[in-house]
């Protein structure tokens, strides 16, 4: 399975959401990282044939996915960011319906639905109406519907958004389990989720691919260092104006700062090992002076 994105562009009026993007993906988990409006969801919707590109193509094993139609979609599983459901359907009805529109034969669908319901831990809620499920349960029903056809391409848009830490860890593990022998494209704001499960990370900004690689490669690609230092509260604004602050923690006698900078930001600053959050900030973060320096 190879998904090839070739010179892909999507414009909405004058706004360019995806700009001449080129990526090739094979089996494995790909984490898509970027700030809001970076074009992640638009890219995913094009991969799911929900949007047609303005120019460029996406091919699956060499064939244009738009021309493939059903033959492509039968390989596809999608959990959208705004996962909607039919409020009056029970979990079982909902999954049976999605199985039907995915073209599963009723006998196969019934077995698959039962397997997935227990697989995602919804056995006790199988006959509950969808509208009565908690946020985490809805997401689990969402991943179950995406997995119904055992997809070769699994697209998950912000799958852990809004979940409590327990649900998030559980969900993350579930995705890891499902990731074998398929291509999983995962988008999230939560950097640690990607750090744990993605084999390769794609960084997107303003519709373009800024960088790609493993977590270690991305960390190594940083041209600045990470520093930890302590500052008085009155000095914090000075650091915020001049440096990218990766983390701030209030202490009784001041503030502990994690700073990304080429030079040592303070005399007492000590170098720290970089992590993926630092990478995110390095590529996408802004100093306060970049945005509201006048305030």
């Amino acid at each position: 399975m190879e998904l090839n994105i070739i010179d892909l562009t999507k414009k909405f009026g004058k706004f360019t959401a995806v700009n001449h993007l080129n990526v090739t993906m094979t089996n494995g988990v790909y984490g898509l990282l970027g700030v809001n409006g970076a074009g992640k969801t638009t890219l995913m919707r094009m991969i799911c044939t929900l949007l047609g590109p303005t120019s460029g193509t996406i091919t699956c094993d060499g064939k244009d996915i738009m021309s493939m139609g059903e033959n492509y979609r039968k390989k596809l599983g999608y959990l959208p960011q705004d996962f909607g459901f039919y409020p009056e359907f029970t979990v079982q009805d909902y999954l049976l319906y999605i199985a039907a529109i995915k073209g599963l034969r009723p006998v196969v669908a019934k077995k698959r639905v039962n397997d997935l319901i227990s697989g995602v831990g919804l056995s006790k809620a199988a006959n509950k109406k969808m509208r009565k499920l908690s946020g985490g349960m809805k997401r689990r029903a969402g991943i179950a519907q995406a997995m119904l056809n055992d997809p070769a391409v699994l697209v998950l848009d912000e799958p852990t958004a809004g979940l409590d830490p327990n649900e998030r860890i559980r969900f993350r593990n579930l995705i890891s389990e499902l990731a074998e022998n398929r291509l999983v494209l995962l988008s999230t704001h939560i950097v640690s989720d990607i750090e744990y499960i993605a084999n390769e990370i794609l960084l997107m900004r303003e519709g373009e691919l800024v960088h790609r690689g493993t977590a270690a490669q991305l960390i190594a690609s940083m041209k600045e260092s990470v520093w930890k230092c302590y500052a008085q509260k009155k000095d914090v604004s000075h650091f915020m104006k001049n440096y990218k602050i990766s983390n701030m923690k209030s202490e009784p006698d001041g503030v502990e700062l994690r700073i990304i900078s080429n030079e040592r930001p303070a005399m007492d600053a000590v170098p720290e090992e970089a992590n993926l959050e630092d990478v995110f900030l390095y590529y996408f973060g802004e100093k306060v002076s970049d945005t509201n320096g006048a305030i």
Partner: protein, 399 residues
């Protein structure tokens, strides 16, 4: 898949409420229609509803049979012999009231209906009732307000239709059919039904966007093919089942209570349709009305579904059946629009009330009644909407 689409429609709380409301409206409508069957007593009291039916049936069936010249003469004589008070007269006239009304309608002046015509006419003149019907039409077509409204071909058609009516007419008690078809309740029920079904089908397409289930739907294997077909099928199934359930229940209640008798009588046997050029029986009138209403329902509601696909708004879609079934009634009052409005689909919801209006049209060189034309036209248009619905939804993008 159709099963799930049906489940989506009837699983919605508002739609369950709509069905219960529709059932209650059918019961109320039937009760009112039955209540309107009245039998006047010689003591001045009036029996209505179930209490009046058997008495009225006995009275009217005294005149069962062909309404020949002799029968017409006899009706005029009996009508004029009575020197009783108005109250007693009203009670005694009931048995031949339908034939009396045929005489009133036939011999009333062109300017308007006169209830007392039968009280003054001679039996010999009244006996020429059927010839008078044709003569009156010819006069009306060649003079007065009707002049210019009909082409010569249309006039010939109307006269031919009048002349083709097989006389003498057969008469018997047909209050069940009259209560069902000649009252205002049936057209009102049809409009209510179409508005209510509008609620049921309004969300079939747009709810996918409202519930944000569109992404999963359209990215599924059959989401842009058979799943859409199943939505269309569910829509048409819901329209068909609910419409016919309502109409059959309404008809069955009235006919079971008031009586099935008179199904074979021509609709001209009475005041309501004396001037109609449709030479059909009450049973055929019922079939025409029902299938006309069905064609109207199919078109208006499939058009509403098309709006649902294009607008992605359930709220806007709900208003479409209401606008299409009610607005033309008001627009038709504007003189220049009157003729055009006769071809709007709402006309199909009122067939039984307007069968006596001389609405004709010319299709392929042949003159026919407007209703058969509209039934075929709107049925075909409903079918033509299906591929537009399918393609419109198939091409939908999720932005």
């Amino acid at each position: 898949m159709v099963r799930f689409e049906i489940k989506k429609i009837f699983g919605k709380r508002i739609n369950k409420l709509v069905l219960v409301l529709l059932f209650v409206i059918v019961l109320i409508g039937s009760f009112l229609a039955i209540r309107d069957v009245r039998c006047y007593q010689e003591d001045g009291s009036v029996r209505s509803g179930v209490a009046a039916i058997s008495q009225l049936k006995k009275l009217k069936n005294k005149w069962r049979g062909a309404v020949t010249e002799d029968v017409i003469k006899k009706v005029v004589q009996e009508n004029q012999l009575s020197r009783d008070s108005e109250t007693i007269k009203l009670a005694r006239q009931q048995s031949f009231d339908d034939i009396r009304e045929m005489i009133n309608a036939g011999f009333s002046p062109a300017e308007g209906y006169d209830y007392y015509t039968a009280d003054q006419i001679s039996p010999e003149k009244a006996a020429k009732l059927y010839e008078q019907r044709i003569e009156k039409l010819k006069e009306e077509l060649s003079a007065g307000n009707e002049e210019g409204n009909y082409t010569n071909k249309e006039k010939e058609f109307l006269i031919h239709q009048y002349e083709s009516l097989k006389t003498p007419l057969y008469y018997e008690y047909a209050e069940g059919w009259k209560a069902l078809l000649d009252s205002q309740y049936l057209p009102t029920l049809m409009i209510i039904t179409i508005v209510m079904i509008g609620f049921l089908v309004s969300g079939i397409f747009s709810d996918e966007f409202q519930y944000k289930t569109d992404s999963v739907f359209f990215s599924s294997r059959l989401g842009r093919s058979r799943a859409i077909v199943s939505k269309i099928a569910a829509g048409f199934l819901a329209i068909t089942v609910v419409y016919w359930s309502v109409m059959l229940l309404f008809s069955a209640i009235i006919l079971c209570v008031v009586g099935f008798g008179g199904a074979g009588c021509m609709i001209q046997t009475g005041l309501g349709n004396w001037e109609s050029f449709y030479n059909i029986t009450y049973l055929q009138d019922w079939l025409l009305t029902m299938f006309g209403g069905y064609a109207g329902n199919l078109f208006i509601l499939s058009f509403a579904m098309l709006i649902s696909v294009k607008s992605r708004s359930t709220v806007l879609t709900v208003t479409v059946p209401f606008v299409l079934s009610c607005a033309p009634m008001f627009l038709g009052r504007v003189q220049i629009l009157t003729k055009i409005m006769n071809f709007f689909p709402d006309m199909l919801l009122r067939i039984s009330k307007f069968l006596d209006v001389l609405l004709v049209c010319e299709v392929g060189g042949n003159v026919i009644g407007v209703y058969p034309f509209l039934i075929v036209l709107y049925f075909l248009l409903s079918l033509a909407i299906i591929p537009v619905l399918y393609c419109g939804y198939r091409r939908a993008e999720v932005k």
